[in-house]
């Protein structure tokens, strides 16, 4: 088996590239969407939202860099970041739904992570969007990994 050369497209580069492109679109939309919530609508991000942002924003840059030319190793950097972000998203979602109790905290000016700030169409919440995005990212990156690292 031949070792892949850095920066060289994999054998079935075309469809693999589309996977990374899709991930990049998703990460970019999530980034702009979260910025829309905070900067345009003025919804302050809670602490857990910040951690999810921290693991979402770099994906935009890493994936973009990995697309030109297609670097199959991009998944090695992007996937761990996405998995950690997914962990925060799951934790946040469970907290939000009340499956995990939020420790009693003194009232402050900070934003509570369990407060429902936005419900699109009555049922879509921000933590739900986050968990869906991260899950899809991981699925797409795993498909890419399977296709390129046999």
């Amino acid at each position: 088996m031949k070792e892949p050369v850095f920066g060289q497209p994999a054998a079935d580069g075309q469809s693999a590239w589309v996977l990374i492109f899709a991930c990049w679109l998703l990460a970019s939309s999530a980034t702009l969407g979260s910025l829309f919530f905070s900067e345009v609508m003025g919804i302050l991000p809670c602490v857990l939202c910040w951690y999810q942002r921290i693991f979402m924003y770099p994906l935009v840059v890493i994936l973009l860099a990995g697309m030109f030319p297609l670097d199959r190793n991009v998944v090695r950097y992007a996937l761990p970041i996405a998995v950690i972000g997914w962990g925060f998203a799951v934790y946040h979602y469970f907290l939000y739904r009340g499956y995990i109790p939020e420790g009693l905290q003194p009232c402050g000016q900070g934003v509570s992570c369990t407060e429902i700030n936005l419900e699109l169409f009555g049922f879509i919440t921000i933590p739900m969007l986050s968990i869906l995005t991260y899950t899809t990212l991981i699925a797409l990156l795993s498909a890419f990994l399977k296709r390129t690292h046999r």
Partner: protein
């Protein structure tokens, strides 16, 4: 080449969608704010609210302010300039929005100073000394007393007066009015009942000038 084009197009489209959505959202919000202010006009001014300038002026700037807010401090001279530039045509009404820790203490001092007819002098001193008493991590509003010597305020009396329950009611009323009018940040301006939607010097100046033109 085709890929570069695709990614660039997608990027441009995403950013364009963001900008358009922000524009639509802001337009919608501006309409909502104007409607809220229009429907809640009776919350804009209370009979006890501090007023400056010609009472007969046809243009009234209403400012919801927080004594600990830096932007309020920076804006204050600018608001005064606006009144001077349109002398006799523009007056000012202040409303309290103590959002920071320790701000309500300072509002109490201001109200106590008003009983002695020293409100505006005290406000001046409050803003000048703001960096000393209003640090966000650790506000120390008691420090303010040290800076009030030159205002001619009877400090002993003010310390007593500031505990009056009437002041508590006024603060509560102002905060509740601010909420009704959807003022969530300070300074919050209304000119003749019209909210300042896009915040900024030029925007406020433009709003005041357009009202002056309408009224005179």
């Amino acid at each position: 080449m085709k890929k570069t084009f695709m990614v660039a197009t997608a990027g441009v489209l995403l950013v364009a969608a963001f900008i358009i959505a922000a524009f639509l959202y802001n337009t919608q919000k501006a309409n909502d704010l104007s409607n809220t202010a229009y429907q809640n006009a009776e919350f804009l001014v209370r009979d006890y609210s501090p007023t400056k300038g010609d009472p007969g002026a046809k243009v009234t700037i209403i400012e919801f302010f927080d004594p600990a807010c830096e932007t309020c401090r920076v804006f204050y001279p600018f608001v005064e300039q606006l009144m001077e530039a349109n002398s006799g045509q523009v007056n000012l009404v202040l409303r309290y929005t103590p959002l920071h820790d320790g701000s309500d203490y300072v509002v109490r001092i201001l109200e106590a100073a008003r009983l002695q007819g020293k409100f505006w002098e005290t406000l001046e001193a409050v803003f000048t000394s703001q960096p000393a008493w209003a640090s966000h991590g650790q506000p120390q509003p008691e420090k303010l007393w040290m800076y009030l010597g030159r205002t001619g305020l009877d400090i002993e009396k003010a310390r007593k007066d500031m505990r009056s329950p009437e002041i508590t009611d006024r603060i509560r009323q102002d905060i509740s009015d601010a909420r009704q009018l959807k003022v969530s940040k300070t300074p919050g301006f209304f000119v003749n009942g019209k909210p300042l939607v896009q915040f900024g010097y030029e925007q406020l100046q433009a709003l005041v000038e357009s009202e002056v033109r309408n009224q005179y």
